[in-house]
């Protein structure tokens, strides 16, 4: 053995001598590749700002003192309308200095409601995304790795879920949610209930994708090599198959996050989503659309732009993550 250790390479490694590189971890490479993706970086910053504003700044600035005593920004209360000195509601005020986004048909400050609405929309998007990612991956992985009875049972169940008509079911269950008293309060009303509902309705497509990936990766020679080394099923699934199936999972999950935000908007538009007066971008777009035909465009435009920009940002981030997670993407080594 010692003889072999000292033997010079058969010419295959000549180029490697003297090229000792600093150990670059997978994480370093991931970060470096993500940084290179400009659109994803901009989107990340944008989304980060949106999240901070919706979840931190918005609630902090909330003013409970009532309509007349709060100062600018006019009224960080999304339920009360603005009133003038004569105690008349300032309905459908166009954007101006102190009311940059204008007011809606009930006189409520649109900026306040856009900020607060982000909370509901983002909660629905993120919670649904996490739920779909975990459910879909587990079901798809089990079905793809264990053929036969497990696969058949799980996939027929998936077919059943995929066969449910999304909007009708979501409308009916969304309508029933507040009346299901056995559920905890936070599930009955508000974005969490909708998020769980959408999560359970949307994981089917991801499960199918993950199963297909597992079916093809399971037969790869590197998986066979791991098996020949004596690796356990768990190790094969988590070390060999799942990392190679990550790109479609991430892409599909980001698409689902975007879709969930939009579906929640649609449900709120139809009146079956998050209950008023809690604002959501979808609900605001709905009421904004009603007044926009009369020329009061601001509520619709601002809420819909927030919605579209957020969904776009999520999709761009998914794009960047997929590229960054692929080690065959080239980056220069320093």
């Amino acid at each position: 053995m010692t003889d072999l250790l000292n033997r010079p390479g058969d010419g295959a490694s000549d180029d490697a001598e003297g090229l000792a590189v600093e150990p670059i971890t997978q994480w370093d490479l991931f970060i470096a590749r993500l940084r290179r993706h400009r659109l994803a970086m901009i989107s990340s910053i944008f989304l980060f700002v949106v999240i901070i504003i919706s979840f931190v700044v918005g609630p902090l600035l909330k003013c409970d003192k009532g309509a007349t005593e709060c100062e600018f920004p006019q009224l960080w209360d999304h339920t009360q309308g603005l009133k003038d000195d004569d105690d008349r509601l300032l309905v459908n005020i166009a954007p101006r200095g102190s009311i940059p986004f204008g007011t809606d048909e009930l006189g409520r400050d649109v900026l306040t409601r856009v900020v607060r609405g982000g909370q509901a929309s983002l909660t629905v998007g993120i919670v649904t995304g996490l739920l779909v990612a975990s459910l879909g991956t587990v079901v798809g992985a089990l079905a793809g790795y264990y053929p036969g009875v497990v696969d058949q049972a799980l996939m027929r169940f998936t077919d059943l879920i995929l066969g449910l008509p999304l909007l009708p079911v979501a409308i009916v269950v969304g309508r029933l949610l507040p009346e299901l008293t056995f559920l905890p309060d936070w599930m009955q009303s508000g974005p969490w209930g909708i998020a769980f509902l959408l999560g359970f309705l949307l994981w089917g497509s991801l499960a199918r994708i993950v199963r297909a990936e597992f079916l093809s990766l399971r037969e790869k020679e590197f998986v066979e090599a791991a098996r020949a080394a004596g690796a356990s099923d768990r190790r094969i699934i988590f070390r060999h198959i799942l990392p190679n199936a990550m790109s479609p999972i991430i892409v599909q999950t980001t698409l689902i996050i975007g879709a969930a935000i939009i579906i929640e908007a649609a449900l709120s538009f139809l009146g079956f989503g998050v209950r008023p007066p809690t604002p959501t971008w979808g609900g605001m777009a709905a009421s904004g659309a009603g007044v926009a035909v009369r020329g009061f465009w601001w509520e619709l435009v601002f809420s819909a732009s927030a919605l579209v920009m957020t969904v776009l940002a999520v999709n761009f981030i998914g794009d960047g993550l997929r590229d960054a997670l692929d080690p065959t993407q080239t980056i220069e080594r320093k």
Partner: protein
């Protein structure tokens, strides 16, 4: 003249001669053909391997040759239990202690999971495609150290040292540990695959067409590496290939497969200079000779037709549909057994004939 390889009776101590590392006995692998969407009915079976028997001695290289679809790789995967054999036995003489209650000779084909896990330290495989056999998301270090991790060998630092040693052994630079497979050429990747196979100090390495995906010049390098490793580490190889010159270069003995059966087994020179089975004649006559004058004079035996479907193989001698020596009423009714026609030279043919090809 009439010795037939008998299935070994009861596996036990002393059943295997001490110089035999592994004995394959009547190995059969069937793949079911299923039809139906919901309730899959088995409507038939493809017999990829139909009862083959052979032995490999410690330290030797057995070359296994045959056309695509003849069952070479399937047989090898059954021996390693990467596929579950349908029938037959595989006896393995262990070379390490493993600290477990294993008998000196272990029957692999029916061994339980735990036994198999231990035995995997003794038998490893190098795959054909160096691009598919390395996980693209793992660094060289994690690929080569995986068998060590799985078998709980050493600490993280010890394993890294071992990986560097292994990379040196296969002619790569130890600085390559943090690179990914796609940063290497085909030959280098195959070396990584070999390093992985060596990690647990196995006794047997199955080489499943390890050079057929490489350039000819790289083939020579890898073959020489394999030969050196065998000398230094006392490895035993089961070398699967369809390139007959490569097999001749590296093998001590050669076995020829046709449609899931062994048709001839002989020492290398015996096989290449005096083949007895008509299929071997045809196969070997296709090897080009690197001498233009001899090449012009050499006799070529051309076979008619294609290899028949293994789902519906010809009765009796499976080669009779294409055999130039086919005798009606004999070859298609009675199956020829693999007989030792000369010392160490086995062939399965009713009408064997030594044929000088060169």
């Amino acid at each position: 003249m009439t010795d037939v390889i008998q299935p070994a009776t009861i596996p036990g101590v002393g059943d295997l001669p001490s110089d035999v590392l592994i004995r394959v006995d009547g190995l059969v692998k069937e793949f079911p053909i299923k039809r139906g969407v919901f309730f899959k009915k088995q409507i038939g079976a493809v017999q990829a391997v139909s009862g083959i028997s052979f032995e490999i001695k410690s330290g030797e290289t057995l070359g296994l040759v045959g056309e695509s679809g003849s069952g070479k790789s399937t047989a090898a995967r059954c021996i390693l239990r990467l596929l579950e054999p349908t029938a037959g036995n595989v006896y393995f003489q262990k070379t390490q202690d493993h600290g477990a209650d294993l008998p000196p000779i272990v029957e692999i084909a029916h061994a339980d999971k735990q036994t198999m896990r231990i035995l995997r330290e003794e038998m490893q495989i190098v795959f054909q495609d160096p691009f598919a056999s390395l996980n693209p998301r793992m660094t060289v270090a994690s690929i080569v150290s995986e068998p060590l991790i799985v078998h709980g060998v050493g600490s993280a630092e010890e394993r890294l040292e071992k990986v560097k040693d292994l990379l040196r052994v296969v002619g790569l630079s130890p600085e390559h540990t943090n690179r990914y497979p796609h940063e290497f050429s085909g030959g280098q990747r195959q070396r990584i695959g070999i390093a992985r196979a060596l990690a647990l100090n196995p006794a047997l390495i199955v080489l499943d067409e390890p050079v057929s995906a490489l350039d000819v010049s790289i083939q020579a390098q890898v073959l020489n590496l394999l030969a050196d490793l065998q000398d230094e580490l006392g490895l035993t190889y089961l070398f699967i290939a369809h390139d007959l010159s490569v097999v001749r270069h590296i093998s001590d003995r050669v076995a020829v497969m046709y449609l899931g059966k062994l048709v001839e087994v002989a020492d290398r020179d015996d096989m290449y200079e005096r083949p007895m089975h008509p299929y071997s004649h045809a196969l070997l006559s296709a090897v080009p000779i690197p001498d233009p004058e001899l090449e012009l004079k050499r006799k070529r035996i051309l076979l008619e037709g294609d290899i028949p479907s293994p789902a519906n193989p010809p009765a009796a001698c499976r080669f009779h549909t294409r055999c130039p020596k086919f005798v009606e009423g004999h070859c298609d009714t009675e199956e020829p057994m693999l007989r030792e026609l000369e010392p160490g030279h086995w062939a399965a043919c009713h009408y064997p004939e030594v044929q000088q090809l060169f």
